[in-house]
């Protein structure tokens, strides 16, 4: 099989990169070992929420400019603030044309609200989800938090506990219909995805709307967990049209409906642009020739290799096995690329779970153009994008999605500008 570009990894970075390349009319294949971490999405995309020293960031681009001076290893610093700004400005358009409608500004963070009611700084949020301009600045005074009976992955009481701190009165409502009763027969599958399937039926949306209408006189808004619209795109709009107070979604624990939707939307967009998406396949080895990758072999395709002019390593970090930890090493399994990590395992982590753990910043060594480095030299036609990059703490710094998207676009641009 021959493509212009082969991207290994079908998560946010891989797909953003693939869409850019396919958009430009180049042939592109994505090989992905299963579904990606987008399935745990909060419904928002972070760019930069905190500086490495813990300070809160209000203007991510200003923060990135500072990183350029203070943390030269950081992928944002490697790409440079100017480029970051350029790519950050392209992202909303890319997401929107793919079919994910988002709001936000790369010069000013807003706040998303978590399933436990906390506020987290973020960059872009998918339409329909509750956001705040300042932490605690909620768009209502009395809110009704609705949950499905027996759904354990959403926490009205925890949300209310936070909201009450800001003087918002909260009341609760639980819903139960025969169709929900039906799925609850299974003791483990009362998950967001299954619940959302129930609400893809209009009669259940109607019933939910009825229930919400009953609480209207007392409340000025209603919050519903993100269990609306898994197979249909119009469920949320339909529900909103049936009630006359504002309705906001809050994310749930995984699997995440906005994540599943985003994954599917991006994938469909990539395919519609002519891209080939190979799901459930693992790249096993690669042929290198004169410092370039010639082709890669996968488990499924065996003796038919994927040849390409350009390759992108977008396999992510540990979760997706882009990086593999053994008791004494951190390995990049596809190309055996150089990795950056602390040699003693005791330095990989502290004993406090929520600390900034060193292992989270381990990654694949690249040069400033994000070419992957192997045995000390850059590989010309192999780039690294996304969570596998070295030198940042995606969660603590609130920059995981931003790094994935921006590095993907940076890599895509370099590929498109070559040749």
């Amino acid at each position: 099989m021959k493509f212009d570009t082969v991207i290994i990894g079908g998560g946010l970075a891989g797909m953003a990169c693939g869409i850019r390349i396919a958009e430009a009319g180049r042939s592109c294949a994505i090989v992905s070992q299963g579904q990606s971490a987008i399935h745990f999405s909060s419904g928002s995309f972070d760019l930069l929420g905190r500086m490495p020293d813990g300070r809160e960031v209000t203007d991510p681009i200003a923060g990135i400019t500072e990183l350029e001076q203070t943390s030269q290893e950081h992928p944002y610093a490697v790409m440079g603030a100017e480029r970051c700004l350029k790519y950050a400005q392209r992202v909303p358009e890319l997401l929107r044309t793919s079919g994910i409608s988002v709001l936000g500004d790369c010069r000013k963070n807003h706040y998303r609200v978590t399933p436990m009611g906390r506020s987290k700084a973020t960059w872009l949020t998918i339409d329909g989800y509750l956001t705040e301009q300042e932490p605690g600045k909620l768009p209502f005074e009395k809110v009704c938090i609705v949950n499905v009976e027996g759904f354990l992955d959403f926490y009205p009481e925890f949300i209310a506990e936070e909201f009450r701190k800001y003087g918002v009165a909260c009341c609760f409502e639980t819903i139960n219909f025969p169709d929900l009763e039906h799925i609850r027969k299974n003791p483990s599958e009362m998950r967001s995805a299954n619940v959302a399937r129930v609400f893809d039926h209009e009669k259940n949306l109607d019933a939910l709307a009825d229930k919400i209408r009953k609480v209207v006189p007392e409340c000025d808004a209603v919050i519903v967990p993100a269990i609306i619209g898994i197979n249909r795109n119009d469920s949320l709009g339909l529900l909103k049209s049936k009630i006359d107070i504002p309705l906001y979604l809050l994310p749930t624990l995984p699997p995440s409906i906005p994540g599943i939707k985003a994954q599917q939307t991006l994938q469909q967009c990539f395919r519609a642009l002519g891209g080939e998406y190979f799901l459930g396949d693992t790249v096993r080895s690669a042929d290198l020739e004169n410092g370039r990758v010639k082709q890669v072999y996968t488990v499924n395709h065996g003796n038919i290799p994927f040849e390409a002019d350009h390759f992108v390593l977008a396999t992510g970090s540990f979760f997706s096995e882009g990086l593999v930890a053994t008791p004494d090493r951190i390995v990049e399994p596809v190309f055996g690329a150089d990795t950056v990590y602390a040699s003693s395992r005791t330095e990989w982590y502290t004993l406090r779970f929520f600390d900034k753990q060193n292992y989270q910043a381990f990654g694949v060594k690249t040069d400033s153009a994000l070419h992957v480095v192997k045995e000390g030299s850059s590989i010309d036609n192999l780039y690294c994008a996304g969570a596998g990059l070295v030198g940042f703490h995606p969660v603590q710094e609130g920059c995981g999605a931003g790094i994935s998207l921006l590095s993907a676009l940076y890599v895509a641009d370099q590929i498109l500008n070559s040749k």
Binding site: Q35, R191, P255, Q268, G280, I304, P327
Partner: protein, 407 residues
């Protein structure tokens, strides 16, 4: 330290990190709450069964073995294999229901039916007969049976083709499967036509038995293993002694021989596995290598919607079939979103599964109806039956379409 460098053990379920992604993509759990779902039935359950075998839950039988959980799993856990292996290891040792026996023994039933095909076909289409089968055998009366051919593919081949095929300088071996042999010999003839056009003669294996997929899913493991051994022996003869590649027209047969034999029946096949492949992949390779090209005739433009069968999705090979279809002038290919059609071999024939089966397939049927396609293409015979029964569109193997347009 040399230990713990690699924790990919045979207990592959340990790699599950409870991310719940598989549960989103399980077509059965989405419609049937009696099924525990892939995470519970697979890795979670396996851990409990290792503690005590009597934690085995008979509800594992609702798994269709579509392997979509495996395709979705970011941790490479062989969830479907774990579930099917558990059924073999811990499930009821005897499965003697007449219904399951009949459904599983496609080979036997096929050879009994083909001589009387017109009668059998008419009979199973009759309401009273279907009603009887429903009541007596728990085969759902709404299910439409595939038609049997009058005379098998192999008997036709021996009579009319064997000699001519042997004359080709280049040869390939063909695993035709039960469907071609008993229901649709035309597909076998189509393959021969294509291969001949490419300069290859088509041979049959010394001895071919049903690949055993239906035996496995119906709990007849010993028989499945015996048949698998026969097939592997024939394949080895073809590959090792005659240096022939083995191709198949059914994605399920291909998948079973390559992957289910080692994973579920513990039969090693690594010496020949790479030489067994789907005919569309074989052709793709020939064409890509530049050794072969085809001439097509001018024909009416048609719109073909390709449906990816579950086992095709698992193998990752729909690309080849789609590329072949795209090569045909006048054929516009639409690739349907990959979704299970719900039939899962013999699963959907069973009365207790009929509703699940049709509910699983519903989104696919809607997609097909909305696609505006003239024709659906797919590499799996049971998907074809399901699609033809449940939608208004005809459904063919890509090779049939390919052959019909050859000049």
């Amino acid at each position: 330290m040399n230990i713990q460098q690699n924790t990919v053990s045979e207990n592959n379920f340990e790699q599950c990190i409870k991310c719940t992604i598989c549960t989103v993509y399980c077509p059965v759990a989405a419609v049937n709450p009696d099924y525990p779902g892939p995470k519970q039935a697979g890795p979670d359950g396996e851990r409990l069964r290792l503690k005590r075998p009597d934690f085995f839950d008979s509800a594992l039988k609702y798994c269709m073995n579509c392997k979509r959980c495996e395709v979705a799993c970011p941790s490479n856990v062989r969830i479907g294999d774990i579930i099917q292996s558990a059924r073999i290891k811990y499930g009821p040792k005897r499965n003697t229901s007449l219904r399951n026996y009949v459904l599983a023994n496609t080979d036997l039933v096929g050879s009994l039916a083909t001589p009387f095909a017109p009668i059998v076909n008419t009979a199973v289409a009759l309401k009273p007969v279907r009603f009887m089968m429903d009541k007596v055998m728990a085969i759902d009366h709404r299910r439409i049976f595939p038609k049997y051919a009058h005379g098998t593919f192999t008997s036709w081949y021996k009579k009319h083709a064997a000699e001519a095929q042997a004359a080709f300088p280049k040869q390939v071996s063909y695993f035709h499967g039960c469907y071609v042999n008993y229901n649709n010999p035309q597909l076998g003839k189509d393959l021969i036509r294509i291969m001949n056009a490419a300069g290859y003669g088509v041979r049959l294996l010394d001895k071919e038995k049903c690949c055993g997929v239906a035996l496995i899913s119906n709990g007849l493991y010993n028989q499945a293993k015996r048949q698998a051994e026969t097939n592997l022996a024939s394949i080895r003869t073809a590959v090792n002694e005659n240096d022939l590649d083995v191709i198949a027209t059914s994605s399920t047969c291909t998948f079973t021989i390559r992957d289910e034999y080692p994973h579920l029946l513990s039969l090693k096949n690594d010496d020949v596995r790479d030489r067994v492949e789907l005919a569309t992949r074989y052709l793709y390779r020939l064409i890509q290598s530049g050794k072969v090209s085809f001439k097509f005739k001018e024909a009416e433009p048609i719109r073909v919607a390709y449906h990816t069968p579950c086992h095709m999705e698992k193998m990752g090979w729909s690309y080849y079939s789609i590329e072949l279809l795209r090569m045909i002038p006048g054929v516009e290919v639409i690739v349907l979103d990959s979704q299970c059609c719900g039939i899962a071999g013999t699963y959907g024939f069973k009365k207790e599964n009929y509703r699940t089966s049709q509910d699983v397939g519903e989104p696919l049927f809607r997609q097909i109806e909305a696609s505006g396609a003239d024709l659906v293409a797919t590499d799996c015979e049971t998907c074809k039956w399901q699609i033809e029964m449940s939608t208004t569109k005809p459904c063919e193997n890509p090779l049939t379409i390919f052959a019909s347009r050859l000049a």
